[in-house]
């Protein structure tokens, strides 16, 4: 027994080395992405660890859940979160508009390049430019209302950004105008890559425009539309700061009508000099965003497994 052991080892050793080598070979891609992965881990990992630490401290001293209690009982934080929630309603509108625009562009024969550029242009405009232009355009006595009054639509000349009841919806409309280009191009790119045979077959079978795109095109675009929906949901929860900041001079006004969670975090950290409360709110926002990210990953997984079954 004692003697056989070294013999066994001698026999199995090359196998083990072979297995390790093949594992290393198999994990080649992981080595390739290692530098980038390390960057992500160091930059985001450090930030998140620091964020978590700060959210449990006040000026360096441990305060337990005190910061969470203060943030979660802050009426302004509730308002900010509610506004983010309301902005989520723009996501289905964005998805529908993007799909419609993509289909129309797909069906357009003449001037397609021009229309594509026109739809995509708002997306590539810098948000500060958009903010300043719309800020001027939408003043109570600005260009839009002057035009409406000149056309006799006096009742439609509203205080778009100055009325607390309308400011958030006005901002939503601007966000839709700007973000729809991204969705359109995304969906159009997928649409162009679809096999034309199915569309032609449906046309020969007598499918009209709406039936064709609702029954044939839409199901094939499902993964890319879902990706866009998740992406825009993340935008609405944690990426609308620029719009609000530029259009309300960093105030989230009038009153608190356009305060969103990111602005709350920014103001806590840099205006109100409460980095701990900002860290706490940021951590809560991160958790909320994670829900969408997990949702996205699940959808992607399901979509991949669906494709592999096909």
């Amino acid at each position: 027994m004692i003697k056989t052991a070294p013999t066994e080892n001698a026999v199995t050793a090359p196998r083990v080395i072979g297995a390790v080598t093949s594992r290393i070979k198999g994990s080649g891609p992981f080595f390739w992405i290692l530098p980038a992965a390390l960057c992500v881990v160091v930059i985001f990992g450090y930030s998140i660890v620091d964020l978590v630490q700060q959210s449990f401290k006040y000026q360096g001293a441990w305060v337990g859940l005190d910061n969470f209690r203060l943030v979660l009982t802050d009426p302004l934080f509730h308002i900010a979160i509610f506004h983010n929630f309301l902005l989520l309603f723009t996501v289905p509108i964005l998805a529908i508009l993007s799909f419609l625009c993509a289909v129309l562009l797909f069906e357009t024969r003449r001037g397609m390049k021009f229309y594509r550029s026109a739809v995509f242009l708002p997306y590539i405009l810098p948000i500060p430019v958009v903010g300043v232009v719309f800020g001027q355009l939408l003043q109570l006595n600005g260009a839009l209302n002057s035009a409406l009054r000149a056309l006799g639509f006096h009742s439609l000349a509203l205080d778009w950004l100055g009325d607390p009841g309308q400011a958030l919806w006005t901002m939503s409309a601007i966000i839709i105008w700007k973000e729809v280009g991204f969705g359109t191009i995304l969906i159009l790119a997928r649409l162009i890559s679809l096999p034309l045979e199915t569309l032609e077959a449906a046309r020969i079978d007598g499918a009209g425009f709406f039936r064709l795109h609702l029954k044939i095109t839409l199901p094939q675009l499902k993964p890319v539309i879902l990706f866009y929906i998740i992406n825009e949901a993340i935008v609405m929860v944690s990426w609308v700061f620029n719009y609000v900041y530029v259009m309300t001079n960093g105030q989230g006004g009038p009153g608190n009508a356009t305060v969103v969670s990111e602005l709350y975090i920014y103001r806590s950290a840099f205006q109100n000099k409460s980095p701990e409360l900002a860290a706490t709110a940021a951590l809560l926002l991160l958790l909320a965003t994670l829900v969408f990210i997990v949702g996205f990953l699940k959808i992607q997984k399901n979509s991949n497994s669906g494709n592999s079954h096909e």
């Binding site: 100055g162 009325d163 009153g255 103001r267 840099f270």
Partner: protein, 445 residues
């Protein structure tokens, strides 16, 4: 024995002489802790002010150039900040302990808070008291337990109401001097579609101005405001809340331009310049420029019409905009020397020449000011009433004052509701900022 006592007396005299000499030199030696460096020194100054004192940019360039002539080894880089970015940019710099050596601060709480947070060094540690005593408002707004945080730079009479007699007389009106007159003026002009007052609150800042010029009329001193901050008084007490009702009255009497919520302050002031509004409120340093732009003979510069019975009713407030030295600066002595240089006669006179406003220094010769509008304005601010906005936490200003002024002027909130909201936020701030009560209490002593 006699020799001993003689020696003792002589010793005492020498000691007394030395201590006297050291006392008289103490203040002068504050800034001379280190010998002035001979090697290259670079200072960075982040500043604001050209927005309310046009011409400040030229003065800064002149002064930096003159200082370079005096100290060729010192280079000063200047960065003009935006209004909305001034506070956040410095907060980010302070967190990184990197950025400017010299930083611009509005007076009062805007200078106190960075001091309390350990972001700036007290200028009184580097500038002699004999010098600092000439800096207007340093002792009222920037002092904290015997120290002076920042050095006043220029004076801000806060805030003059400018009335255009040509616009008023067109509708048979005179410049209103009482609150009743003002509301009557609003009624007459609004019936004609002309705003009596031009203002813009989209960017919020004007809300703080309105609080200061209306709210100051019912308090007896800045200590009342600090008392409401620390909790011994309330912002719902009539002394602190009545101004909200007056503000609501201006909304009800349609005093303001209808687009006040969608315009920034500087955009709205243009309405007054264009003759589309009878009155407006401007930054003190900029008032002479506004008056000259439309013709000084057509303009009356005055305090907000009186509604209250407090000692500051009908009077102008006074604040000084300041420069501080950051804690992380490696050349604090040089920074302080530059600040003192900026208060030398040549620079004080040049400030007036470049901007038409008054430097925050009582050595500035008012006899040289010939323009009666400017002279009256400067005199009104020395000493003026407290500028209330500078005595409340900055967050209370932005979250309660700015936000509620927008809502009251839109007519979606009453003055009473706004006061209650301000009080509720103050109570909350005492919990979130655990040092607030301690700091404000210490400041008020």
């Amino acid at each position: 024995m006699k020799n001993r006592s003689k020696a003792f007396v002589a010793g005492c005299m020498v000691a007394a002489l030395l201590s006297t000499l050291s006392f008289t030199n103490a203040s002068a030696s504050v800034s001379l802790k280190k010998a002035f460096p001979t090697g290259p020194v670079t200072l960075t100054m982040w500043w604001w002010g050209d927005q309310e004192a046009p011409g400040a940019k030229l003065w800064v360039a002149d002064t930096v150039k003159a200082y370079k002539v005096k100290h060729p080894n010192v280079t000063i880089k200047t960065v003009l900040q935006t209004t909305d970015g001034l506070v956040p940019a410095f907060a980010a710099a302070a967190a990184a302990k990197k950025g400017p050596d010299l930083q611009y601060f509005w007076g009062g709480i805007y200078a106190q808070q960075p001091g309390w947070d350990g972001q700036i060094a007290a200028v009184s540690d580097y500038i002699p008291a004999t010098e600092l005593k000439h800096y207007v408002n340093a002792s009222t707004e920037e002092s904290f337990q015997g120290k002076i945080w920042t050095a006043p730079w220029y004076l801000n009479p806060s805030f003059p109401v400018l009335a255009r007699t040509d616009v008023l007389s067109k509708y048979g009106l005179k410049v209103p001097t009482t609150w009743k007159d003002l509301l009557n003026t609003c009624d007459v002009l609004s019936a004609k579609g002309v705003p009596a007052l031009a203002g813009g609150v989209k960017d919020g800042w004007f809300g703080g101005w309105l609080y200061s010029i209306l709210g100051a009329q019912s308090v007896s001193s800045s200590k009342d405001v600090v008392a409401a901050v620390t909790g011994t008084q309330k912002f719902t007490d009539p002394m602190h809340a009545d101004w909200w009702t007056r503000l609501q009255e201006t909304q009800q009497h349609k005093c303001w331009n209808t687009d006040i919520n969608s315009l920034e302050l500087y955009q709205a002031q243009q309405l007054w310049k264009d003759g589309k509004a009878a009155m407006t409120v401007v930054a003190g340093p900029d008032a002479p420029n506004f008056a000259n732009a439309v013709g000084a003979s057509k303009v009356v510069v005055m305090a907000m019409p009186k509604w209250g019975n407090g000692p500051f009713a009908g009077k102008m407030g006074s604040t000084s905009q300041t420069i501080g030295i950051t804690k992380w600066s490696k050349n604090k002595e040089v920074a302080a020397d530059f600040l003192m240089f900026s208060h030398e006669k040549a620079q004080l006179d040049n400030w007036f020449v470049r901007t038409g406003s008054m430097p925050a220094d009582d050595r500035f010769d008012l006899n040289g000011v010939k323009d009666p509008v400017k002279k009256a304005l400067f005199q009104s601010a020395m000493p003026g009433g407290p500028y209330l906005e500078n005595f409340i936490p900055a967050q209370l200003d932005t979250d309660a004052v700015f936000a509620n002024v927008q809502l009251v002027l839109k007519g979606t909130k009453t003055g009473k509701q706004a006061a209650a909201d301000m009080q509720a936020l103050m109570e909350r701030l005492r919990k979130t900022d655990r040092n607030l009560v301690k700091n404000f209490t210490a400041w008020s002593k």
